[in-house]
C-alpha cells in the first residue's frame, strides 16, 4: 500500500437526466489494492456514477482513465473489456441454471464448450479468495448470500480487476456480511480495486480504506477512513450535523391487541412459508421482526392484512375500548376496514403494492378512502388537502400534489406511503422494511414517526433488516427462521450476534 497506482480515475464526469444533474463534475480515483466506499444519501448520484463506469449510461461530459489511459466505455461489454465488474443490488442470474452455468454464461470462446474444464477454473478462483459455494447447485435453490457469491465469482471469472458492489450487505445477516468482508479483504490483498456503495456507516468504517462522499450529485470530498468518524461522515453526507440517536420511550401500554395463533400459510408454489407461528402484539409498543429476507415475514404481514390466505390458525384483534374480539382470518382488507378496525400496512413493495406509480400524489392518498360514500363519482378535495398536509408535515420534496409518485425519489415515495397509512390513526401499524433504500435523514424521520405512533398507543409491528436499528428502536424482537418462530427477545438487552444466530436457526431460546 506504499505505492499507490490508480486503477480507475474519473475527471469531471457529468450526467443530466432531463434538466437535472444526476452527477455534476465528479472527480474520483480508485487505487489498486484498496477498498473505496462511496457514501451519499439517496438521489446523490452514487448508482448513476457506477452505471457510467460499468457502461450502462454514457456520461454527458468528463473523462475516464483506466491504468492512466483515457478510455470510452460505451456498453457493459466495453466495461468487461476494461476489466470492470459490477455486482448489482438486484441479481441478474438465471434461476434454472446452476452456479457454474451462470458464471460462464455469455462468454465467447473459440473451440469446444467444456463446462467441466471451466468448473475447475472457477473452483480455483473460489479457493483463492475463500468463497464457499457448490458450483452445481441451481440458483433457485440458493440463499440470497449464495446468489451474491455467484455474482462476485462471475465477475472475477471474467477477469475483473475493478469490482463495484452496489449495497451488497443490504440483504445479508451479520455473519454473512463478515464472510463477505473477509473475501473483500482477500481480493484487496490480491491487488483488486474495490468500490462499495453502502448506506451503513459502521460498515464503511469497518471495511474501507477511503471514503468518497457525494451530495446531491456533486462530489464533496474523499477522506481516509482511519482519519474520520461516523459523525464527521454524516455531516459531509447531509451537509449539516444531525444526531444519530433514536429516542426510544418506555413502552406504556401492556395490553395485548393482536393475537396470532398457530398461523400457517403457503405461497403460490404451495410451499409452506409461515409455519405454526404464534405471537401477540401489545398496544403502545414497537414489536420488531428479524429474519433473513424471505423467511416468511412478507407472508406473515400479508396474512394479518388480509392479503394472504391462511392454511391454519387464527388472527384475533381485540378492541381495547369495547373488549370485543374479532377473528380476522381470511377476511379481505375491505371487510377488516368495514369492521371498524384501523389496521394500516406499509408493504415492502412500495410502488408495486402500497402505491400506484403512475398516479399522482392525491390519487395515491385517495386509495384508502376513495370508496367512501354513496356517490358514483370521486371526491378529490379532501384527499388533496390531506396530500398537502402530508407533503408539508413530512417534508416531501415534490413539485406539486399532481406529480406522479414514480417521479419522486425513494425517500419521498416512502413518506407519501407512510403518511397515508398513519393518517387514519391506526390501532395496528405494520411496516415492512420501511427505510430500505432511504437516506439517513428520511430514515430517522420514519423512526420518529413510528415512535410517535407507539406513543399514541398504536401497536407497531416493524419488519427490519438492520439489526442495529431493530435493537435500538424496538421493545421486543421476534426472530423468524424459515417461516418458524425462532424466539422472542427483549430488544433492550439483546445482542446482535445472538439474533443473527437465531435467524439462521442455529441458536435461540424459545426454540420449539
Amino acid at each position: 500500500m506504499d505505492k499507490k497506482v490508480s486503477a480507475i480515475e474519473l475527471k469531471g464526469i457529468s450526467k443530466k437526466f432531463g434538466e437535472k444533474y444526476a452527477n455534476k463534475n465528479i472527480d474520483l480515483t480508485v487505487y489498486k489494492g484498496e477498498i473505496l466506499s462511496i457514501l451519499g444519501e439517496n438521489g446523490s448520484g452514487k448508482t448513476t456514477l457506477m452505471n457510467m463506469i460499468s457502461g450502462i449510461y454514457f456520461p454527458d461530459a468528463g473523462k475516464i482513465f483506466i491504468d492512466g489511459k483515457e478510455v470510452t466505455i460505451r456498453s457493459p461489454k466495453d466495461a468487461f473489456d476494461y476489466k470492470i465488474g459490477m455486482i448489482h443490488q438486484h441479481f441478474k442470474l438465471i434461476s434454472v441454471f446452476s452456479a457454474a452455468e451462470n458464471i460462464v454464461l455469455g462468454i465467447k470462446k473459440k473451440g469446444k464448450y467444456d463446462l467441466k474444464k471451466e468448473i475447475v477454473k472457477i473452483q480455483e478462483i473460489c479457493d483463492k479468495y475463500g468463497f464457499i459455494i457448490d458450483l452445481n447447485k441451481k440458483i433457485y435453490e440458493m440463499s440470497v448470500s449464495e446468489k451474491q457469491t455467484v455474482e462476485i465469482v462471475k465477475v472475477l471469472y471474467r477477469g475483473a480487476d475493478i469490482l463495484i458492489l452496489d449495497e451488497p450487505t443490504a440483504v445479508l445477516t451479520p455473519q454473512e456480511t463478515q464472510k463477505l468482508f473477509h473475501v473483500m479483504r482477500l481480493m484487496k490483498e490480491d491487488g483488486k480495486a474495490i468500490i462499495i456503495i453502502t448506506h451503513k456507516l459502521n460498515e464503511v468504517m469497518e471495511i474501507s480504506d477511503r471514503v468518497s462522499i457525494l451530495r446531491k450529485g456533486e462530489y464533496v470530498g474523499t477522506v481516509n477512513t482511519d482519519e474520520t468518524d461516523m459523525t464527521a461522515l454524516t455531516a459531509m453526507m447531509v451537509g449539516k450535523k444531525i444526531s444519530l440517536n433514536i429516542e426510544r420511550s418506555e413502552a406504556k401500554g401492556t395490553e395485548d391487541v393482536l393475537f396470532v395463533e398457530n398461523l400457517s400459510c403457503v405461497n403460490r408454489e404451495g410451499v409452506k412459508v409461515v409455519d405454526n407461528f404464534s405471537f401477540t402484539a401489545k398496544a403502545g409498543e414497537i414489536l420488531g421482526i428479524a429474519g433473513i429476507a424471505g423467511s416468511g415475514q412478507k407472508e406473515l404481514l400479508e396474512a394479518i392484512a388480509g392479503l394472504q390466505k391462511l392454511e391454519e390458525g387464527k388472527i384475533i384483534y381485540k378492541n381495547l375500548k369495547t373488549g370485543k374480539e374479532e377473528n380476522l382470518r381470511n377476511k379481505t382488507p375491505l371487510q377488516i376496514r368495514n369492521l371498524g378496525i384501523r389496521l394500516s400496512f406499509v408493504p415492502e413493495d412500495r410502488l408495486g403494492m402500497g402505491l400506484v406509480a403512475n398516479m399522482n400524489i392525491t390519487d395515491n392518498i385517495m386509495l384508502r378512502s376513495y370508496s367512501r360514500g354513496k356517490s358514483l363519482f370521486l371526491q378529490r378535495k379532501e384527499p388533496k388537502t390531506l396530500a398537502e398536509k402530508i407533503i408539508n408535515d413530512l417534508e416531501v420534496v415534490t413539485p406539486s400534489t399532481e406529480t406522479p409518485v414514480r417521479r419522486l425519489s425513494g425517500g419521498n415515495v416512502q413518506k407519501v406511503l407512510v403518511g397515508r397509512e398513519i393518517s387514519s390513526a391506526p390501532k395496528v401499524l405494520m411496516v415492512a422494511y420501511p427505510v430500505r433504500g432511504l437516506d439517513i435523514n428520511s430514515s430517522y424521520l420514519i423512526y420518529n414517526l413510528l415512535n410517535k405512533q407507539k406513543e399514541n398507543g398504536a401497536s407497531v409491528i416493524f419488519v427490519g433488516e438492520d439489526l442495529d436499528v431493530l435493537i435500538e428502536l424496538c421493545d421486543r424482537i421476534i426472530v423468524m427462521c424459515a417461516g418458524k418462530l425462532s424466539g422472542i427477545v427483549d430488544a433492550r438487552t439483546a445482542k446482535k450476534e445472538e439474533i443473527g444466530l437465531m435467524m439462521t436457526g442455529t441458536g435461540g431460546k424459545n426454540n420449539e
Binding site: 437526466f17 432531463g18 454514457f58 483515457e70 478510455v71 470510452t72 460505451r74 456498453s75 466495453d78 468487461f80 473489456d81 476494461y82 477477469g159 392484512a305 388480509g306 392479503l307 379481505t332 382488507p333 375491505l334 371487510q335 376496514r337 400496512f345 408493504p347 413493495d349 410502488l351 408495486g352 403494492m353 402500497g354 402505491l355 400506484v356 406509480a357 403512475n358 398516479m359 390519487d363 385517495m366 386509495l367 384508502r368 376513495y370 370508496s371 356517490s375 358514483l376 363519482f377 370521486l378
Partner: protein, 370 residues
C-alpha cells in the same frame, strides 16, 4: 478480448426524454404527418408518375368533396370512434381485448335478429330500446367469457379474445344461411327495406346524424367515467397494479368482469349502429376490421376519449382518401393500403421521438479530445 482502441463517444445515443412540453410533442406529431405525406409523395411519383399534389387533392376531395361524402366520412369516424371507445376501459385496465371485431358482430347479429323477427310488428319506441339492450347484452356476454377465464384462471386474454373473433364470424356466417334474402345468395340484403322497421331514426333528413350523436354522447360519457367516477379510478388501479388493488381491498375479479362487460356492451352499440343505423344488413364483414384498427386509435390517443376523436379522424381520413385515390386514378386498391401504412408508420414512430432523445456524436467534443 481486445480492448477497443478508440475512445469515441458512441455514434448514436438514446436517452429518455422526460417532460417534453405539450406543444412540442404536438409539433413533433404534426412534423411526422408532414414527413409521411412527403414520403408518400415520393412513392406515388416513383410508382405511378402522377403528380402527388393531384393525389392529395383527390384525397381531400374523397373526404370533403360533397355533402354526401362529408356525412359518410363522419359516419365512418363515428363508427371507428365507437369501437375505440369500447376498447378503452379494457385497455386502461391492461386487459388486451382484441376481440372487438367479434363483439361488434355479436351485437350486430342480435340487432338483425330483432329487426327481422319483430321489426314489422313492434312499436319502434319499444323495439329500438329493446334492440339496444339485447345487442349490448349479447356483446357483453361475448366479451365477458374471456374475462371470467382471465379473472379466475388467469388465462391469456389476448389469445382468448382473438379466437373468439373467429367463432363470432363463423356464427354470423351460420346465421346468414337462415336470413339470406334469396336462397343460396349468401347475403342478407336490406332488411325491412320497404317498412324500415327497426331502422334507427333519421334526424333532419340526415340518416347518419343519429349515429353520430350517440357516439358523441358516448365519448363524453367515457371521458367522465374514466376520469371522475369511482369505477374509472378502480380501472386505473387494477391496470397499474393488481397487487395494489388487492392491498386496498378492491375486488379485482369483479372489476375485471365489470369493465370488460362495459367494453363489450359498447361494442354491442357499435353493432347496433352499424346494422340498424347505417347498413341495414349484416355480413361477416360488418365490423369491417374496425375491431383491430380501433386498437391503434385508442392507443394513439393514450386512452383519452376526447383525443380519440382526433386519432379516429386521422385514420378515417387517410383510409377514405386512399381508397378515393385508388378509384380516381384506376390504381390497385393495395396502393391505398401502402399509403395508409406509410402514414401510420410515421405517426406511431413519432411517439419514439417524443419519449426519447437521440444524440449524435458531436464533432467538437471529439476535436477536444485530441
Amino acid at each position: 478480448m481486445s480492448k477497443p482502441d478508440t475512445h469515441h463517444e458512441p455514434l448514436i445515443r438514446i436517452t429518455k426524454n422526460v417532460g417534453m412540453p405539450m406543444w412540442k410533442a404536438w409539433l413533433v406529431r404534426i412534423a411526422a404527418v408532414v414527413i409521411a405525406l412527403v414520403v408518400c409523395a415520393g412513392f406515388i411519383v416513383i410508382l405511378t408518375r402522377i403528380n402527388p399534389f393531384e393525389f392529395y387533392k383527390v384525397m381531400i376531395r374523397g373526404n370533403f368533396g360533397t355533402k354526401r361524402k362529408i356525412w359518410s366520412m363522419l359516419q365512418n369516424l363515428a363508427m371507428m370512434l365507437c369501437v375505440a371507445l369500447a376498447l378503452t376501459p379494457a385497455y386502461k385496465m391492461r386487459f388486451w381485448n382484441i376481440g372487438a371485431e367479434g363483439q361488434v358482430l355479436m351485437g350486430a347479429a342480435a340487432t338483425t335478429f330483432l329487426m327481422i323477427h319483430l321489426g314489422n310488428s313492434l312499436n319502434p319506441w319499444i323495439l329500438i330500446p329493446l334492440m339496444a339492450i339485447v345487442s349490448m347484452i349479447c356483446s357483453a356476454v361475448w366479451a365477458v367469457i374471456p374475462a371470467i377465464f382471465k379473472a379466475y384462471f388467469n388465462t391469456n386474454e389476448t389469445l382468448f379474445t382473438l379466437m373468439m373473433n373467429y367463432v363470432a364470424t363463423q356464427f354470423v356466417a351460420f346465421l346468414i344461411t337462415f336470413w339470406e334474402g334469396q336462397k343460396g345468395s349468401n347475403t342478407v340484403g336490406i332488411i325491412n327495406g320497404t317498412t324500415q322497421g327497426g331502422w334507427l331514426p333519421t334526424i333532419g333528413g340526415q340518416k347518419y346524424l343519429f349515429n353520430i350523436l350517440i357516439v358523441f354522447a358516448l365519448t363524453v360519457f367515457m371521458y367522465i367515467y374514466l376520469k371522475y367516477s369511482k369505477h374509472g379510478y378502480e380501472i386505473s388501479v387494477v391496470g397499474e397494479s393488481e397487487n395494489t388493488a388487492r392491498y386496498i381491498g378492491i375486488n379485482v375479479k369483479k372489476v375485471i368482469i365489470r369493465t370488460v362487460a362495459l367494453s363489450g356492451a359498447i361494442c354491442g352499440i357499435a353493432g347496433l349502429l352499424l346494422v340498424a343505423g347505417s347498413g341495414h344488413t349484416i355480413s361477416t364483414e360488418t365490423a369491417g376490421g374496425r375491431g383491430f384498427t380501433a386498437i391503434m386509435v385508442s392507443w394513439l390517443a393514450k386512452f383519452n376519449p376526447l383525443v380519440m376523436i382526433l386519432t379516429s379522424f386521422i385514420v378515417v381520413f387517410f383510409e377514405r382518401g386512399a381508397s378515393e385515390i385508388a378509384t380516381a386514378f384506376g390504381l390497385n386498391v393495395k396502393m391505398a393500403d401502402i399509403l395508409t401504412g406509410i402514414i401510420l408508420f410515421f405517426i406511431i414512430g413519432s411517439e419514439f421521438f417524443i419519449n426519447y432523445k437521440v444524440h449524435f456524436r458531436s464533432r467538437h467534443t471529439e476535436g477536444g479530445n485530441k
